[in-house]
Symmetry: C2
Subunit: 482 residues, 2 copies
């Protein structure tokens, strides 16, 4: 008889019943080839004595094994390991334990990647690239709406079927704030702007297609297009935004699949596309029937003047896919974005979204819809905008006072970040390394140029830092720039 | 002078300031070519009189336009439409309004789709394909954990940076319940199983690759592989699950990119892959270094006997990508799934997930981690399992009592659904049409065969219906099967 006492160890403290532990161990022994097909197991009385357990426990384990077809009860002969299991060689007991330490032995596609910031261990401050301040989030209203939905009779139906309320409320919100002329059929709700970018791009890009983006550009958009097989062509971004003449020249000479543009507070540089270039771009869109993703990720935050209406509100023949997000507007952990496009495009995009992410978080979507309807979102935006405006001004002042023009910047007209350019003799990577030693984590530049060398600049998200924090962070930065 | 009184209409009830409404309308007029570059605007006094507004309002509008570069203040001459705007032809005023009613004029990729059930208008009951009962969800514990996280000092950091707690807790949970030997490096958290399937498949499939699935198969997996360009080869599914001999034959003759298998409660048929076939399949995986997605979507619900350990717990050389979900286990609107694979695969998959969906809902993920740690999930599963077990038994009894063997089924050993086969003379599509008239919505079969003809069967999700509802639903079904 096999040394079952050694082979089968029972953990009496485990929350799993002992009979189940025994059954699972037997399965392991069969799989490992220790127990061969056709072998008989000791009777339950004998086995119970070996293992020092009650006989009923062993009987239960055997029943479990039989119900799973691993063993068969042979009349008057006892329990036999199923004979029709394929013959297997005995294997080391360790093999199963290391399954995920090895392999895989199949090959898989590489994903274009981005180096991430070091983990926040021992870190006091982080300069992010433009987060809202989650401490300002309208948590009370949010909780109130969630509770009221959960207590309503429609809750069950809602969780199973979802509802169109959010699309309807978003239609109103986008019409009122962005001058779009749309109906709910023109909206797909996504998990944040990123999923909207991925979905729209996946609907368009085939391997080798030319896609135009700015230089520099929002890196997660670039990576997304690369992942989908695009050949990215870059055009310069200057103080007026993306170079639209360069875009037109490309349209004249090449088959261009798509243009990705961030006309408000361009990511990362925060410049706004000038009116002249907007007009010219609309003309290009109409002439070349150019497909455009307009990523208007932080339209809702504007300080100096009202925001410029998006390309999507003008005459583009349905060729502008307008993308944005309420994630930053809400400032909670919830991620909700949108894609606006002609109805037949949205219908297809919705199918694709379903293949990636069966459905959204229905409760959260409904609560957000209620907050759009009640005006809570608008009230929150008003309040947050005022605070972020002050923080932008404070940051500009601190940078001028404490850094004596060592770093260059233009105050952004809106958005949650400021673009800070470093002089050549002061590489941002060295500054970032020094800062880390002083408890400040910031991007060492690799997030702004993906191909070629990293940009010598920093996208300084100011919205999530309060006055005291801003002062401390700029203080550390000043020390590191000496 | 242009008839500005007609061209510029102000809505005094709008929540947007009047100066902004005027500025936006001017932009429209410039974009539409009504106001040409170089044209001068009437002085603010004149314009104010025309529009019947206070002069300061017009001044504010002009300032707004100037700050956006649409107009330029010319010394002593007043405001001029910027001269460097591209010359444009006058256009109908309606063009901007219909931008999203037309187009797009670019072409885009089709997405393999699925006809959805009709909307639930006037519907009393829905037979879904295996949802949990959201009325049983542990809402109190959930709310408690969320509140405690929101009130803790780590909340801000958590929302910005996320945490690894959920991966750690999932590692423990999967080790304890599934016998996996893994570390947090082997887990990617996703939005439900669907995103894990899409991500893993997108890492593997290139256009034209052969992918093996069952016939029938979970349709959203099939659609996902098709979307990614796979050539799907189907092998039969019988009472013992997928035909693994057919799989081996294919591996011998063709380059197979991947196999998708649902060994527990196969979707849609609910059969379990027999022990013999599991062993054989593991051998095939090792021999052919076959990449396998093991979709174990409702492992946590088992009634008759303990569930069989997944392929992922055995010796597969790291080639089994194990996918599952806590969405059904929790029964809230929250979607959280997982992908288990070797660490270097997970690292790449994590990058891809980030391109589709920048980050998860950090608050919800942390709350779920806390519920795994406190044992609340396990307690809930225990309670829910008992209730679903009773509902399964009741459904079987009702089907036998009220349908007199007109429909065929095998009680499923676990899961949240039962596979009901209709006889040839009773097409499920006709039954579904009759049922809709009686207030019952059910799939007319198109969800079970995608290519070829739809299956004459129904996946009857019993978990979300209580005793009374089950009786009523089966009552309606019996009427429609006469």
């Amino acid at each position: 008889m096999l040394p079952f006492k050694t082979l089968i160890q029972v953990d009496k403290k485990s929350k799993y019943p002992i009979y189940q532990q025994i059954a699972n161990r037997f399965i392991g022994l069969i799989q490992e080839g220790v127990l061969q097909p056709g072998a008989f197991l000791p009777g339950s009385r004998v086995m119970a004595a070996q293992l020092g357990l009650h006989r009923q426990t062993v009987v239960a384990a055997y029943e479990e094994l039989a119900s799973q077809d691993w063993i068969i009860s042979m009349a008057r002969k006892g329990m036999m390991v199923a004979a029709n299991l394929p013959v297997i060689k005995p294997r080391s007991f360790k093999t199963t334990a290391v399954a995920y330490a090895q392999g895989p032995s199949f090959s898989f596609n590489a994903v274009p990647k981005l180096e991430m910031l070091p983990p926040a261990i021992g870190i006091r401050y982080t300069i992010n690239d433009g987060f809202p301040d989650v401490r300002l989030a309208p948590l009370t209203e949010w909780t109130k709406e969630c509770r009221s939905i959960v207590q309503s009779p429609r809750y069950t139906k809602l969780l199973m079927d979802g509802s169109d309320t959010l699309r309807k409320e978003m239609t109103k919100f986008l019409t009122n704030t962005r001058g779009l002329n749309i109906s709910p059929d023109n909206i797909m709700v996504s998990r944040g702007a990123q999923m909207a970018i991925y979905t729209a791009a996946a609907m368009l890009i085939r391997k080798g297609d030319h896609v135009i983006t700015g230089s520099p550009n929002y890196i997660f958009a670039d990576l997304c297009f690369e992942q989908l097989g695009a050949n990215i062509i870059r055009v310069p971004v200057d103080n007026e935004g993306i170079d639209v003449d360069a875009v037109e020249k490309l349209c004249r000479t090449k088959k261009i699949r798509m243009l990705y543009v961030v006309p408000h507070h361009h990511h990362p540089t925060t410049v706004t596309l000038s009116a002249e270039r907007r007009m010219k771009l609309l003309e290009i869109i109409r002439t070349y029937k150019l497909a455009v993703i307009e990523d208007d990720y932080d339209y809702d935050f504007h300080y100096s003047s009202a925001p410029i209406l998006p390309l999507a509100s003008a005459d583009h023949g349905g060729n502008v896919m307008y993308i944005g997000s309420l994630t930053k507007s809400l400032g909670l952990s919830l991620r909700i974005g949108f894609l606006v496009a002609p109805a037949r495009f949205i219908a297809e995009a919705g199918h694709l979204r379903r293949l990636m992410d069966l459905r959204g978080d229905n409760l959260s979507e409904e609560a957000l819809a209620a907050m759009l309807q009640s005006g809570a979102i608008e009230r929150h935006l008003k309040k947050a905008k005022k605070i972020y405006h002050e923080r932008r001004d404070l940051l500009c002042k601190l940078l001028m006072d404490k850094l004596d023009n060592r770093l260059q910047f233009t105050p952004p007209s809106g958005g949650l970040a400021l673009w800070l350019k470093f002089p050549e003799h002061l590489p941002v990577q060295e500054v970032a390394e020094k800062a880390l030693d002083l408890g400040l984590r910031m991007s060492p530049g690799m997030h702004y140029h993906y191909q070629g060398k990293p940009g010598n600049a920093l996208r300084f998200g100011f919205a999530s830092l309060n006055d005291r924090e801003l002062a401390n962070v700029v203080g550390i930065l000043a020390k590191c720039c000496k």
